[in-house]
């Protein structure tokens, strides 16, 4: 059947209707685990596997707070390979390029099914080429929390990398040699997985303050190192020097100001890319000039937001995961740098998720189409290169959702008639800002009205597409393979799009 964004979904799956359709549904919760016994400390992974009686066909979950420096996913999945377990279902919140050992496990059928919110690197390429024997299901950050708490995604064992653990099994992310800051993505796993193993390299007597509550922790596995510190940082903390990026960022900040969105007590979220950081910097200038103090910024928090908190430009930061070491340090010392779980961040069924309180968000896109649907999951050939993360969650929650992108990336137009994959429904995307013009979603008549007569270069999105084709030429239509390799699951658990095997090679 055809769903609410015009995509084909197999009849046995629940199709996406609209982004606010969840309002008609009840929250579904399985019971939180009621642990009877004391937390047991072990220092050998083999022992953990034996005690938990880990067998083929089980589901294991992980978080990605250690990003490219994570050594826990590698270690656990290597053990899966060593024991030659079959039909394993993995549910890491993200998969990074460094998780290279997944390649053989997928190829050999040890790992056959995957739930994740984002994936990139060699495992992503292999899955794009159709090697995963089961299915890949891609969630949003808030949607993953919903899937876990509702029992749609049942976890046999959650392996939670945790920088410091105390004797009672309580865990924190801010201290220890592998400190990574908040542990927001691990909270649902902790509370709802059948068994929970914290994996740490630092044990202390007692933590006064902790993010992971030991009452849910069955085992603590103590090893030499859970991560490589240099890989934990997301990478980019620099503002773009690219003139096109700077032009887009400047235009974005000016537009936000014109729309009256940079006012006292406002709230915002951006990505951590170089152009997003430029937007933050321009917004900061406007705030200082007009003596504005914002209510909060949220997200993956970076140094630029930490500086604004410390300079009194924001009252609070809500942080689901720290993107750089300055954010890690700030979370450890600033009481207004507040941790949030993935559920508190973006779960549609949470009472007041942070995403719903956002005035505006500034996000990127790999592709955007004439209906404003955004793709950040696959590239133009269909290779998996990312995923929603919080994209669809905050696009829904924010009053104004802005996409910033150059019109052309290496000759590829970012505007398409139809995106390859729908990550975020166009009904939640309001404004596209490019270096050659701005397009407003026709659904946002209020924004169109406000911008009427302004000096901003406003076009219909179709006009921007034509302009692009004049520069690049019209790209040839490409066809995906028929084989469905997985699905995009919307945050409410309905199906937004199918992922298909690629037909092209790089």
């Amino acid at each position: 059947m055809i769903n609410g964004v015009g995509r084909f979904i197999p009849d046995n799956l629940d199709p996406f209707v609209s982004s606010d359709n969840f309002l008609t549904k009840e929250r579904k919760l399985i019971s939180k685990k009621n642990k009877q016994s004391k937390t047991v400390f072990l220092n050998n992974l083999t022992e953990v596997f034996d005690i938990l009686n880990i067998t083929s066909g089980m589901t294991f979950s992980f978080h990605h707070h250690l990003r490219n420096g994570d050594q826990v996913i590698q270690m656990v999945t290597n053990e899966i390979g060593r024991r030659n377990l079959q039909n394993i279902h993995l549910a890491p919140s993200s998969i990074f390029p460094n998780y290279t050992n997944l390649v053989d496990l997928i190829r050999n059928g040890n790992v056959t099914d995957i739930h994740t919110n984002y994936l990139n690197g060699p495992a992503a390429k292999l899955i794009s080429e159709g090697y995963l024997r089961g299915k890949l299901v891609m969630n949003t950050h808030g949607g993953r929390a919903r899937a876990i708490e509702s029992g749609d995604l049942l976890i046999d064992v959650a392996f939670i990398a945790c920088p410091v653990v105390d004797k009672n099994g309580n865990g924190h992310g801010s201290f220890g040699k592998s400190a990574c800051g908040t542990l927001g993505y691990a909270v649902s796993d902790l509370e709802y997985a059948k068994k929970v193993v914290l994996v740490t390299d630092t044990v202390v007597e007692e933590l006064k303050d902790y993010q992971l509550d030991g009452q849910y922790v069955d085992y603590v596995l103590v090893i030499d190192s859970i991560g490589e510190r240099s890989g934990i940082v997301s990478g980019t903390t620099e503002i773009t020097k690219d003139p096109i990026g700077l032009k887009i960022a400047k235009e974005c900040a000016n537009l936000l100001n014109f729309l009256g969105l940079i006012k006292n007590d406002f709230s915002m979220q951006t990505g951590a890319g170089k152009t997003s950081l430029a937007v933050v910097s321009f917004v900061e200038d406007i705030m200082k000039k007009n003596k504005i103090v914002g209510s909060f910024a949220s997200g993956g928090i970076t140094k630029s937001y930490v500086d604004m908190l410390e300079n009194g430009l924001f009252k609070k930061l809500y942080d689901v995961q720290c993107f750089d070491l300055e954010a890690v340090a700030s979370f450890a010392k600033n009481e207004n740098h507040i941790a949030m779980s993935a559920s508190e961040y973006g779960n549609p069924f949470e009472k007041n998720p942070i995403c719903n309180k956002l005035d505006f968000v500034v996000l990127g896109a790999t592709e955007i189409d004439l209906d404003f649907n955004v793709n950040v999951t696959t590239d133009s050939l269909g290779y998996l290169i990312g995923g929603s993360g919080g994209h669809a969650d905050i696009a829904y929650g924010a009053d104004v959702t802005i996409i910033i992108s150059p019109l052309i990336k290496s000759r590829i137009p970012i505007i398409k008639e139809k995106v390859m994959t729908v990550t975020t429904p166009g009904s939640d995307v309001d404004i596209l800002i490019t270096e050659r013009g701005i397009a407003i979603n026709p659904l946002r008549k209020d924004l169109k009205e406000k911008l009427k007569g302004s000096s901003f270069p406003i076009f219909e999105i179709g006009e921007l597409l034509e302009l692009t084709h004049k520069i690049t030429g019209v790209p040839k239509d490409i066809k995906s393979d028929e084989k469905v390799i997985g699905y995009i699951e919307y945050r409410d658990g309905t199906y937004l799009d199918c992922l298909r095997k690629v037909n092209y090679e790089y």
């Binding site: 000759r411 590829i412 490409i478 790089y506």
Partner: protein, 84 residues
């Protein structure tokens, strides 16, 4: 005789042209799935306009626009002529 121009930076291309028994064009492009024919046409047209025959043209393209491809090719042609 041989001439080279361009780079393998994003949005650019590296073009090598050398004398050959007959004209041959080899295209390697990250956007080949979308623009192979257009890249080929730009190269063929530029060769025809400049009455260049019997050359082997190799392009390693990183998403260059047509005018970039054309200018890189023209420079490579000039360099080939100077290469004796």
């Amino acid at each position: 005789m041989k001439g080279i121009a361009g780079s393998k930076e994003s949005n650019d291309c590296l073009i090598t042209i050398e004398t050959s028994e007959k004209t041959k064009i080899e295209i390697q492009s990250i956007v080949g799935a979308f623009f192979y024919e257009q890249i080929l046409k730009t190269i063929e047209d530029t060769l025809t306009e400049n009455r260049i025959k019997n050359v082997l043209v190799k392009i390693e393209d990183r998403g260059a626009l047509d005018y970039t491809i054309k200018s890189r090719l023209l420079t490579a042609i000039e360099r080939m002529k100077e290469d004796v």
